[in-house]
Subunit: 358 residues, 2 copies
């Protein structure tokens, strides 16, 4: 029974890091006899350049039939000037998330003990940090209608977007978050701005209601401004955080940066049946693309997450995670996580080291 | 020529901290012969409890005729359960901001050298930190229409808010930010989410256009997720940040917390003629209200900002700021900024020490 994995390198450092992750997948495929079949597609700026669209129909078709998707990253200054906003690389990513209904975005923020020094926070504030941010990914202001830029009667222009959530959307992401909290530390913090935004009043109400079905989970609520503050002040107070698309975008990046190891953090975007797309938390880093210095570990760990969540191959996932920990113990570091006394390696050297450690 | 200062204590620790700030104002009023006249009003939960409205008509009338307003803080669990959202304490604050057109919110994030240890970030990351966040305060999603919770045809409810900015609103806050950057380090970073939200596409366009009139200011753009990350990673890269109401709420709290001295940070909310309302960056802290342990320095420094921005009394403002620095040098600390070897003082002891240092 073979399983289809679609690989979408994307833009910037995407192709470089995805190559290493694919090599790792090929290695575990052989070692654990997983029966994975790999296919490739274009998305983002790469899709636009080749097919005139950031999400070519062929890619969407492959994505629909795949069992899981591994994505690098999209976007770059090359496409920033595109007049037609629908053609921008990000639209390819957003189209995949929305088209495949990948509403459940899991973004762990973990401090790797080997990289403790890399954080800009004091060691005692972040040592042992292990937070999971559950971000709603196919609704909210990212997709709300109406949206656009219109000209008012007085001749000036006005930009507008709509932040909207319905009960069922809140419930399905709530379920992901409560289930995750149940399996982890049993603490869930729902982040909103219910003192100002009606849409998050409903969010808070639904989360509160759902808590009754999860007596083993302790639910708390926090305003988003306070959450941003608390992440900086005392991040270890959190276990699982659940929030909407926009706040999740902001808070998950802040949380990832707390660890100092954003080049290490994977993410999963799941549909209701745990079919998923996996990507590193970091972006396409166009400034360092093509130099062979990007850190492939977040993408390699995303591949591990894929094996665990979508393909049910826990042993193979464990093996990859163990191998990543091993190469860190061997003091191998790409430039982003380099510190004195370590051995600086390139993207491909890092990938090869993980394969070897398997 | 007397000047009218309206004092609005608000809720929680509001009354305690405002009392100390008023004492300081009374002292400089006498010393510098400022001719200030003080009046008082109710707002927030206090307004609701006394008059059935978080912004009683009498308070609004006083606010309109005042030359400047000093506000403590509003809100608390006592009023969280209010069914009618229009009666919540926050609505009083939002009504003042909007009713007086206080669109320009200045939120400095400064690390006090005497408090360097209080930050959760490594000293080298934050030492000397001095950022100014310019937040748009009377538009965006905070006030956008339509908004509410409606029932859909299928019977489920949907919450919705509207994120909207028109050109003129962007221009007037842009002007505040460019002018501030010109007077400071000459660097302005405009924060948006132009890769996803149309309203911020317009924002970016207008800021870019305005930059032509400020050749001495170097304008850059950053996505809000990246800005949250960069504030944690390397906050000293910023001089002035300008952004909308919602992103400004989140980023200014994160920035304030970087300094570890959120109990020290004042803020100003100005209209087009520099009439303004001044408040501490922190909230009403209901958990410690009435205990006499709140830090009054942010409110005292807000009073100094008021003298400088709205009342043109720079010498008196300088004197207050110098007095605050002096009490820190005397090692006096409220519990929030206490560290070993310092002298722990109460709210009123701290206020009295500032008056004495004047
Ligand atoms: C590229 C962009 C559209 C995307 C987002 O905002 O969701 C990215 O920042 C992310 O967090 O995955
Ligand atoms: C109390 C609340 C409405 C307010 C806001 O969100 O603007 C506060 O968080 C602030 O930043 O002044």
């Amino acid at each position: 029974m073979s399983k289809k994995v679609l690989i979408l390198p994307g833009d910037g450092i995407g192709p470089e890091i995805v190559t290493e992750a694919e090599n790792v997948l090929v290695a575990v495929n052989a070692k654990f006899n997983l029966g994975l079949e790999f296919d490739h597609g274009l998305v983002g700026g790469a899709g636009y350049d080749a097919n005139g669209h950031p999400l070519p129909a062929e890619t969407m078709e492959k994505a629909r039939t795949a069992d899981a998707i591994l994505l690098g990253a999209v976007g770059g200054p090359k496409w920033d000037a595109l007049e037609d906003r629908e053609m921008r690389p990000e639209k390819g990513l957003l189209g995949l998330r929305s088209g495949l209904e990948l509403f459940g975005n899991l973004r762990p923020a973990i401090l790797y003990p080997q990289l403790a020094d890399a954080s800009s926070l004091k060691p005692e504030v972040v040592s042992g940090l292990d937070i999971l941010i559950v971000r709603e990914l196919t609704g909210g202001i990212y997709f709300g209608q109406p949206r656009g830029i219109r000209t008012l009667e007085n001749g000036e222009r006005e930009g507008y977007n709509t932040y909207v959530y319905r009960e069922s959307e809140i419930r399905r992401i709530g379920k992901v978050a409560f289930e995750a909290a149940k399996k982890r530390g049993g603490k869930l913090c729902s982040v909103d701005k219910a003192n100002v935004l009606e849409v998050t009043v409903l969010w808070r109400e639904i989360m509160t209601e759902m808590a009754k079905d999860y007596p083993e989970v302790e639910l708390s609520h926090m305003y988003v401004d306070n959450a941003a503050m608390q992440l900086v002040r005392a991040p270890k107070q959190f276990d699982v955080i659940v929030t909407g698309n926009m706040f999740g975008d902001i808070l998950s990046d802040a949380a990832a940066m707390l660890t100092g190891s954003i080049g290490m953090l994977p993410s999963a975007s799941l549909d209701k049946d745990n079919k998923g797309m996996y990507e590193p938390c970091h972006g396409s880093a166009p400034d360092i693309a093509g130099q062979g210095i990007a850190n492939p570990l977040a993408t390699i760990l995303s591949a591990a997450m894929m094996l665990r969540y979508s393909l049910g191959e826990n042993a193979a996932a464990d093996a990859i995670e163990k191998a990543v920990s091993d190469v860190l113990d061997q003091n191998l570091r790409t430039p982003d996580i380099y510190s004195e006394g370590m051995t600086k390696v390139s993207t491909s050297e890092m990938g090869a080291a993980v394969v070897k450690a398997l």
